[in-house]
């Protein structure tokens, strides 16, 4: 069968409507009105560009499993969206996703991870990356981390335990800074 060619990407440009980013879109832990099961986390970071300047108005979309490691959990909507502020900062509140098997019923596991897609002015195509949690034993054997041969590049996918004044007191905070280009660029995955 002849395959169709996928429609080409183009940048969002600088004018992505504020109305599309709704209240609750950055709160996966309780955005649906119910408190999600699992260990609540405040995930935040600063996004900078290749010149190390704060990258403002970058849209960040995330997708993750529930605490039970399910992508089809009826009690958890694992998608979120936010954008960076004037200092390039973003934040989400969510629960730490559970590990999930590489193949159903198999004994190899993906470590807890949050998939991220970055969009914005100047991004002709999205940038894809993945946030991993610090101190997870499964990080050592996670297939995505292991596929990244450079240890330095692999390490850049692991968030740091951090404190943040805006984080609710009952939540752990992890910091995941992103750099969109240049020599200090974050580890991005093929689109």
């Amino acid at each position: 069968m002849r395959r169709l060619v996928a429609t080409a990407d183009q940048t969002t440009g600088p004018f992505f409507p504020a109305q599309f980013i709704r209240r609750g879109d950055s709160d996966l832990a309780g955005g649906t009105g119910r408190r999600a099961a699992g260990e609540a986390h405040y995930v935040f970071g600063q996004v900078c560009d290749a010149d190390a300047k704060p990258a403002v108005n970058v849209i960040i979309e995330i997708w993750q499993a529930s605490a039970a490691g399910r992508f089809d959990d009826p009690d958890f909507f694992g998608w979120g969206r936010t954008w960076t502020d004037r200092e390039g900062f973003y934040s989400f509140t969510t629960v730490k996703p559970g590990p999930y098997p590489v193949r159903p019923g198999g004994n190899r596991w993906f470590a807890p991870r949050i998939s991220m897609r970055l969009l914005g002015s100047g991004l002709m195509r999205p940038l894809l990356t993945c946030l991993y949690f610090p101190g997870e034993a499964l990080n050592a054997t996670d297939p995505q981390l292991v596929a990244i041969r450079s240890l330095a590049a692999r390490k850049r996918l692991i968030a740091a335990a951090a404190a943040h004044a805006s984080a609710p007191p009952d939540m752990r905070a992890v910091r995941f800074d992103l750099c969109l280009g240049g020599r200090k660029a974050s580890t991005f995955l093929e689109g």
Binding site: A8, Q10, N57, L128, A147, G191
Partner: protein, 251 residues
């Protein structure tokens, strides 16, 4: 004994796919600051890519597909009334139903409803500027809006192309069936002289791929059923990336 070494096959990667835009565009400085690093790492496809958010049928109101007025019955925005319709398909040609599509664009004079648009071009209080729809069971959608104007891009930044104008265009965001199928793109209008000069449209090397970002004009039907304020119709289909290969088994 001498070993014969086969020349390694050049990897075909999405990163050098000629049907996709270049990440860096001369004359558009922000692309050099935000294009990622020197290399991209292989992405291991997992359930995280082959699943995605499901937006409930009731989460989008019917009037959100009409950008030509801010509410049903409100006065219509200035400009040429148009409809934009088509289908959302996967790479096998199967319709993608329940696909959340987001649309936004400039008003008829070329001004966005956005705090980041500094241009002195007049705003239109009757223009909604953004809309959403969920595709039906056959993957179809139909938006009603006005044709946007082109606009001059600020070119004061070093490295910016002097005198660059954006052609009239529509911004689309599609969620598809899974996180890996997400598409953000722009659609252009046929016959616009600015199309051939646009840095963003022409960042796609392949001509046929560029042509698929140009709407087709639907021939007039002979009688103006909505006399006095009939829309002109445009159409184009979207093709989302299909599901990737089955999940990777460890090395």
């Amino acid at each position: 004994m001498k070993k014969i070494r086969k020349k390694p096959k050049k990897k075909t990667s999405v990163e050098n796919d000629r049907t996709q835009p270049r990440r860096r565009i001369a004359g558009y400085p922000n692309t050099f600051k935000r294009a990622g690093g020197a290399r991209f790492w292989p992405r291991v496809i997992s359930l995280a890519d082959t699943t995605g958010p499901v937006f409930a049928a009731g989460s989008v109101a019917a009037d959100e597909a009409d950008l030509s007025r801010i509410a049903p019955g409100a006065p219509r925005a200035l400009g040429q009334l148009i409809t934009v319709s088509g289908r959302v398909l996967d790479e096998s040609g199967r319709p993608v139903s329940g696909c959340l599509m987001e649309l936004w664009h400039a008003n008829a004079a070329g001004k966005y409803i956005h705090h980041n648009d500094p241009s002195p071009v007049p705003a239109d209080p009757n223009f909604r500027g953004h809309g959403r729809i969920l595709t039906d069971r056959a993957g179809r959608f139909r938006f009603r809006t006005i044709k946007p104007g082109g606009y001059a891009v600020p070119d004061h930044e070093p490295g910016a192309r002097a005198g660059w104008w954006r052609p009239p265009h529509l911004h689309f965001s599609l969620f598809g069936a899974d996180f890996g199928a997400r598409l953000i793109t722009q659609m252009f209008f046929p016959g616009e002289p600015l199309n051939g000069l646009d840095l963003i449209l022409n960042s796609i090397p392949d001509q046929a791929a560029r042509d698929r970002l140009v709407l087709r004009f639907v021939p007039l039907k002979g009688s103006n059923s909505q006399q006095g304020d009939a829309p002109l119709d445009y159409t184009q289909d979207f093709v989302l990336r299909g599901r990737r290969e089955t999940p990777f088994e460890g090395r």
